[in-house]
Symmetry: C2
Subunit: 287 residues, 2 copies
C-alpha cells in the first residue's frame, strides 16, 4: 500500500485555497436524474454514457468559475453499475483536464473504524475523489480512517439544509442548552481537525445557524448546500459564512445550474448560471 | 414505477418474525476482506468471483440457523465495480434459494429527502435488499423516502458498538439530561415508526444502554452488532435485548463466523460457529 499521508502538495485544502484566491466560491453539484436529462443526451446513448457526457460538458462549461465539483453518490448508485461507472469516469475526466479543481464526493458515509477503511478505499483510491462528506453520529474515534488522510478533505455534517434537520440537530445539549449542531461544530474544529483537513456542512436555509457555527470554528471551510431550488437566501448566507479573510465558503448549487436549460444548450446555460452565482457571491461578500 | 407499498406479504418484519418463531436470532455479517479470504478461494478466481463464492458458501452452510444476513456495503465498495457486482450476486443468490431469510444492507445511508430516493432505488430495486441501516442525524423528515417503504426494514443507528460512540450519542439532552441515543430511540419508536417498519441498532459492547433502549421502545426489533471480535458480552446482551416475548433480537456476528477457519473448510467452520452462537443465545434468552 502507498502511504498517501504525506502528499500535501495537492491536498484538498491547498487546492481549495488557490481557487478561493481567484474568487471562486461556487461548487457545482453534479446530481443527474435520468428523467431530467436533456433529450439530446438520452437519444442513442446508454445511461452511463448520458450521465458521463452530461457531467463532462457541465464541467467543461464551468471550470473557470468554480472552487469545486460535488457529485452526490446517491444519484449514481440509483443506476447501479452503469451509474457508478459514469461517476468514476466523470471524476477521472475532471482530475485529468482540471487537476487544480478539487472533487468532493458527497456520499455522507460513516461506519465503525474497521469498516470505514472500505469507504476510504472506495472514495479515494477507486473513485479518486479529493474529499468526502461524513456523518458525525459515531464520533471522532470511528472516523479515524478518514481523518488520518491529511491529503483529503473530511467534510462533516453539522446543520443540514432540510426542513426537518432541527429534530436532532437543534436539541439542547448540556447545562448551557447549546444546540447539538453547535457542539458537533466545536468538536470538529477543536478535536477532530488535528490534521487540518476538516470542513463542515451547514445549510443555506439556516443563515443564522451558519453565523453561530462560524463564530465557534474560526476560519474552517464551510460547505453550504441549499441555495437555489431549496430556497436558501444567498445574501444572508454569504454574510454569515465568510471567514475573517472574506473566504472559507464552498457554496453549492445543483439543480439551479445543471438544469438551467434542458435543451441542447444545457452546458452553456449551466455556465451562465454559474457565472451569475459567482458574481452574486462576490457582490455580497464585498458588501 | 411499481407501487411496492402494499407488498406486506413478504415484508422485512414478517420474514423476521417467522425466523424468530423458529428460535433464529443470529445474523451473519457478510463482510469480506480480500486479504483474509481463504487461499483456496483466491487461486484462479477474480475478486468478484472470490467474494461471490465466499458469500454463497457461507449462506449455504448457515441458512438453517439464522434470522438474517447482513452484508456491509463498505467491504464491497472497497473493491469498486467488482465488489458491487459480487454484492448484487450474493443477495440475488440468497433471495433465490432462501427467499424466507431477509437480507439487511448495512450501508448506513442518509441524505436529504430528494436525494434519499437514489439510495432507496440502489438498495431495494438494484440490490433487492429487504432492509437498510440509516443514520438518524438528518431527522425523520429527510428519511421519508426510506420510511415510506412499509415492505422494507429501516434500521436506525441509535447506540453504535465502537469505543468512541459516546462522544455524541451519550451527550445529555434537555432538562432531564437524557443521553442523545435514548432520545433518538424514543423518537423512532413513537414518531418514525408509523408504518411499523423500523428497527434500531444498539451495540453489544454497551449492554446497559441496550436495556435503557429496550425500556423505551416496547417490542421494536434491535439489530445488535459487537459480539465476538468487538468483545460484546453475549449473556448481558441477550438479557438486556430480549423483548416481552423473549424475541426481537437480530444478533450479528461477522468475523467470528466468516473467518472461523481460513482453510478449505471455511464454510463448514462458519456453520459450526453459527450453530454454537445460536445455542448460546437461546440458553441466555431462556435463563
Amino acid at each position: 500500500m502507498i502511504d498517501h499521508s504525506q502528499e500535501d502538495t495537492a491536498s484538498f485544502i491547498s487546492l481549495l485555497e488557490k481557487r478561493w484566491l481567484a474568487n471562486h466560491f461556487v461548487c457545482v453539484g453534479l446530481d443527474p436524474e435520468y428523467a431530467r436529462l436533456p433529450a439530446v443526451l438520452k437519444e442513442g446513448h446508454s445511461i452511463e454514457e448520458a450521465f458521463y457526457i452530461f457531467g463532462r460538458e457541465i464541467i467543461a462549461a464551468t471550470h473557470e468559475l468554480v472552487c469545486a465539483y460535488k457529485p452526490n453518490s446517491a444519484f449514481y448508485e440509483a443506476q447501479g453499475d452503469a451509474g457508478m461507472r459514469a461517476l468514476a469516469r466523470i471524476i477521472a475526466y475532471c482530475k485529468k483536464h482540471y487537476p487544480t479543481i478539487p472533487v468532493i464526493l458527497d456520499a455522507k458515509r460513516a461506519d465503525i473504524g474497521n469498516t470505514n477503511q472500505g469507504y476510504v478505499s472506495a472514495a479515494f483510491e477507486h473513485l479518486q475523489a479529493d474529499a468526502i462528506t461524513v456523518h458525525p453520529y459515531l464520533g471522532r474515534e470511528a472516523l479515524a480512517p478518514f481523518l488520518q488522510r491529511r491529503d483529503k478533505g473530511i467534510i462533516v455534517l453539522v446543520k443540514t439544509s432540510n426542513p426537518g434537520s432541527g429534530e436532532l440537530q437543534d436539541l439542547p445539549v448540556g447545562p448551557a442548552g447549546e444546540p447539538l449542531y453547535l457542539v458537533v461544530a466545536r468538536n470538529v474544529a477543536q478535536k477532530w481537525n488535528s490534521n487540518g483537513n476538516c470542513a463542515l456542512v451547514v445549510g443555506a436555509t439556516y443563515p443564522s445557524d451558519i453565523a453561530r457555527v462560524r463564530a465557534v470554528v474560526d476560519d474552517l471551510p464551510l460547505l453550504i448546500p441549499g441555495i437555489g431550488a431549496q430556497g436558501g437566501d444567498l445574501a444572508a448566507t454569504v454574510r454569515a459564512a465568510r471567514n475573517s479573510r472574506g473566504s472559507g465558503m464552498i457554496i453549492n448549487s445543483s439543480r439551479g445550474i445543471i438544469y438551467a436549460s434542458n435543451g441542447a444548450d444545457f452546458a452553456e446555460a449551466a455556465g451562465k448560471a454559474t457565472a451569475q452565482l459567482r458574481s452574486d457571491i462576490i457582490f455580497h461578500r464585498d458588501k
